[in-house]
């Protein structure tokens, strides 16, 4: 029985092959476009998140509860080095590094600039941040070598210093004492992120604690998860471990860089609008086709009803036709999308002027699609649902059909 309906639906589709193909064509076009756009979009979000977080802020940071809103020297954590050691041991994760932040006025022979000076643990910092790997001249800090500093490329240029030059810096310490030191530039990094390259410098944590009278304190423990998907479980684990300690707050990257998630949301909102418009237009196409095909078969349907077919069965037939058409559009559309994605994965996507814009969002000059089940099927699934919903009206109209009137219809 079912087989008959299916066969009828399939044959009905090809009674007007041109119309069917045009409708399927609209689906293939939209599906291909949606897959292409979504894959690139997800790909660029992943890259944006990774590049932005890996450079410096990490996935999670343990801070003093007030430090996030008021990043001041006095909102510090006690014994950060020991705390970091304990977490590394208990979580069996090496990518946890302690930092202390301060502000200082640095002077070379010729120039003075205000800079953000960070005390880091040279042994673990490279595991949480890509900055140490971005040292383009000289080398990164080494454990047990106080009195060394690594600075950003723009800052080096502005201060007119090179490798081996000395910098003096002055600031105020934890106890509001006068903090000053002389350091040698051993490395210059170039991250491409203007804020970091212009105003960031790193020194050894122990040295920092000494100069700024921190007495073992620091401002953050930066944690980098193996993968961005592991962040939530890691957050929970750390939360469990430090449950009793109310003097600590664990900050998710959402809190550390609120702009990141929000700019993704803003972008998603405007893209979703475009996707929905495409889907609605396909739905119109399907509605048109199916309504026409039902109307022109009024007599035929009347006859079938007179022969004893229930309206429900006819409705199912119409929905089945739509389903077949949708399935065809889905499969071919995913095929087209796959081909575009494979091509894009090889050459990367770029358009003139994109490099400038990409830089602003920490993206490379070419973006590559993200091949996930979601990016490959979300668009086509939405198109399919939209199409089936659109076919409901022509299908349900059949319930109003009376055989006599229908058979009289022209």
């Amino acid at each position: 029985m079912k087989d008959v309906t299916l066969r009828m639906a399939w044959r009905n589709l090809w009674r007007h092959w041109r119309r069917t193909w045009l409708t399927v064509g609209a689906m293939i076009f939209s599906n291909g476009l949606l897959i292409f756009a979504m894959s690139l979009q997800f790909g660029s979000y992943d890259m944006m998140i990774d590049n932005s977080l890996q450079a410096y802020s990490g996935h999670l940071q343990l801070q003093h509860p007030r430090y996030l809103d008021e990043p001041k020297m006095r909102y510090a954590l006690d014994d950060v080095t020991e705390l970091a050691e304990r977490l590394r041991r208990e979580l069996d994760l090496d990518s946890i590094s302690a930092r202390a932040d301060g502000f200082a006025l640095a002077s070379s022979n010729e120039r003075s600039y205000g800079l953000q000076i960070i005390g880091v643990d040279p042994a673990h910092e490279p595991l949480v941040s890509t900055l140490p790997g971005l040292v383009k001249q000289g080398r990164y800090l080494e454990p047990g070598m106080p009195g060394e500093i690594v600075i950003g490329a723009v800052l080096a240029r502005n201060l007119k210093v090179g490798l081996g030059d000395e910098l003096t810096f002055i600031g105020s310490g934890f106890d509001d004492s006068f903090a000053a030191g002389i350091v040698t530039v051993v490395g210059i990094f170039e991250s491409g992120i203007a804020d970091l390259d212009r105003a960031l410098a790193q020194v050894d944590l122990a040295y920092f604690q000494d100069v700024f009278a921190m007495q073992g304190r620091g401002h953050s423990l930066t944690v980098r998860a193996q993968h961005v998907d592991d962040v939530e479980s890691l957050q929970w684990q750390i939360g469990e471990l430090l449950d009793t300690d109310k003097s600590l707050s664990l900050r998710h990257w959402d809190e550390l860089q609120p702009g990141l998630r929000q700019s993704i949301q803003a972008d998603m909102a405007s893209n979703s609008f475009m996707y929905i418009v495409l889907i609605v237009l396909v739905a119109f196409s399907v509605l048109n086709t199916q309504l026409m095909s039902v109307l022109e078969r009024t007599r035929e349907f009347g006859t079938m009803m007179a022969l004893g077919l229930q309206p429900a069965r006819l409705s199912r037939l119409v929905m089945l036709e739509t389903g077949l058409m949708t399935a065809l559009g889905l499969v071919l559309g995913i095929g087209v999308g796959l081909v575009i994605n494979l091509y894009m994965a090889r050459v990367g996507f770029s358009y003139p002027g994109m490099d400038e814009v990409a830089l602003k969002f920490n993206l490379p000059e070419r973006i590559y699609p993200s091949f996930t089940i979601l990016s490959m099927t979300l668009g086509p699934a939405a198109v399919a649902i939209g199409s089936l919903l659109a076919a409901l009206y022509p299908a349900l109209r059949l319930y109003l059909l009376t055989p006599i009137d229908a058979m009289r219809a022209v």
Binding site: P258, S270, M274, S285, T289, L291, G353
Partner: protein, 413 residues
């Protein structure tokens, strides 16, 4: 010979009536076209509004449409790379009619310290009289007053910076920078005003003082960092740029905004491309339905077309009749779509509030309220693309109809 002209009325009547023979199909297609056109115009106006805002703010921050400075200044914004205040030919060119406004500026890196905290800042020396037109700063003062003269001894800081420094209006702060001989230049300032910028990063970073006061502090009397000019429209600064460049003495660099901030320039240039791509994508999605409608309309009328051909209507007229039918459909759809766009954009003109993602918008350099910008160019573009490409896609089905063989057509069932 009777051309199209004399038959136009008949063809028009035929097309109009044919259009409404299957009113359901026509209505659905009109729905699709109007939604498509609405989406084209609506989305474009939002994007335009956003980019306009981004450019206006970005250019205000630079600031100015055109800057004159030492060739090394942009790369190394140090007091060493100062230039003389304009004089002679340049001054004439600046004060001449046609320049909307211009001002000298000093910009040096500095450190600001309150009793509790210190921060690295961008210390900017301004000429208060010209500032309203250049950065709009006077309107952003949320507490206290704006600077009153070039000699004003006060300083204006952002609300965010005040919070960071744990200081407030009326308090004193110390600002440290260096003079051209690399000596520390240091001075106490009273905070006379607090400003609130749309982008938080500026509030934290830019501190304003009067131009002459800073010249004295930095020991650069007669020197400034930049001369900034504002023209009437940022889209068209070429003539001012050329005029000023011709009058600028050798050794100074003159740059328009799009060379200073390449991100803004890229966004500006990408917009037109984006609008075109968006309009075409929507059209393509529509075109399947359009062709479908025509193919069906013709299919139903094969016999009829055969008949009128047999009665003597030439194939050319059949082609025109079907194209006209398609044109009428497009035009009605466009009218509805444009109307829909107008009706939905008007209420948003007071601003679409996106403060939920404010910091994300700030990352793109946009404020949290979008004002849609409906431009004639974009509306025309959408309409012209739909009509032209619509007619183009209709040609094939219409041509096929005109080539029907009357005998065969009449025998079709």
């Amino acid at each position: 010979m009777t051309g199209l002209g004399s038959h136009f009325k008949i063809i028009l009547t035929l097309s109009w009536r044919n259009l409404w023979r299957n009113h359901r199909r026509t209505a659905i297609m009109l729905g699709a076209i109007s939604v498509g056109v609405w989406a084209m115009i609506f989305m474009t106006s939002l994007m335009r509004g956003m980019v306009d805002d981004m450019l206006n703010q970005g250019i205000r921050n630079l600031p100015g449409h055109i800057q004159i400075q030492h060739p090394d200044f942009l790369d190394d914004p140090s007091v060493v790379n100062s230039i003389g205040e304009p004089g002679g030919e340049l001054l004439t060119a600046l004060t001449q009619n046609g320049t909307r406004s211009w001002a000298n500026r000093i910009r040096v890196p500095a450190v600001i310290a309150s009793e509790r905290e210190s921060r690295g800042i961008n210390l900017i020396g301004i000429e208060p009289a010209a500032e309203a037109d250049i950065t709009g700063l006077p309107a952003q003062i949320s507490a206290g007053r704006f600077l009153e003269s070039n000699q004003d001894k006060g300083v204006i800081i952002g609300a965010k910076l005040a919070e960071r420094l744990e200081t407030r209006l009326g308090k004193r702060v110390v600002i440290m920078s260096q003079d051209p001989d690399n000596n520390i230049a240091e001075r106490g300032f009273r905070i006379v005003g607090i400003y609130q910028a749309e982008l938080a990063a500026q509030e934290e970073f830019n501190v304003f003082a009067a131009r002459a006061t800073l010249q004295k502090l930095l020991k650069i009397e007669g020197l400034v960092s930049q001369i900034v000019l504002v023209d009437h429209d940022y889209r068209d600064v070429e003539s001012l740029y050329r005029r000023v460049e011709a009058a600028t003495p050798d050794g100074l660099e003159v740059k328009p905004w799009y060379e200073i901030d390449t991100y803004l320039a890229a966004m500006f240039n990408l917009m037109d491309g984006f609008v075109l791509v968006w309009v075409i994508i929507i059209f393509l999605a529509l075109s399947f339905g359009l062709v479908n409608t025509l193919v069906m309309a013709i299919f139903e009328r094969v016999r009829e077309i055969g008949l009128i051909q047999a009665l003597g209507m030439r194939p050319g007229l059949i082609l025109y009749q079907i194209l006209l039918e398609s044109l009428l459909l497009l035009l009605i759809g466009l009218a509805l779509g444009n109307l829909l766009a107008l009706v939905t954009i008007k209420p948003l003109e007071s601003g679409l509030d996106l403060s939920a993602v404010a910091e994300g918008m700030a990352m793109m350099g946009v404020g949290s309220v979008i004002y849609p910008s409906l431009t004639l160019y974009d509306v025309l573009l959408a309409n012209v693309v739909v009509v032209l490409l619509g007619i183009l896609t209709s040609i094939l089905p219409a041509w096929r109809a005109s080539q029907l063989d009357p005998v065969r057509a009449l025998n079709t069932h």
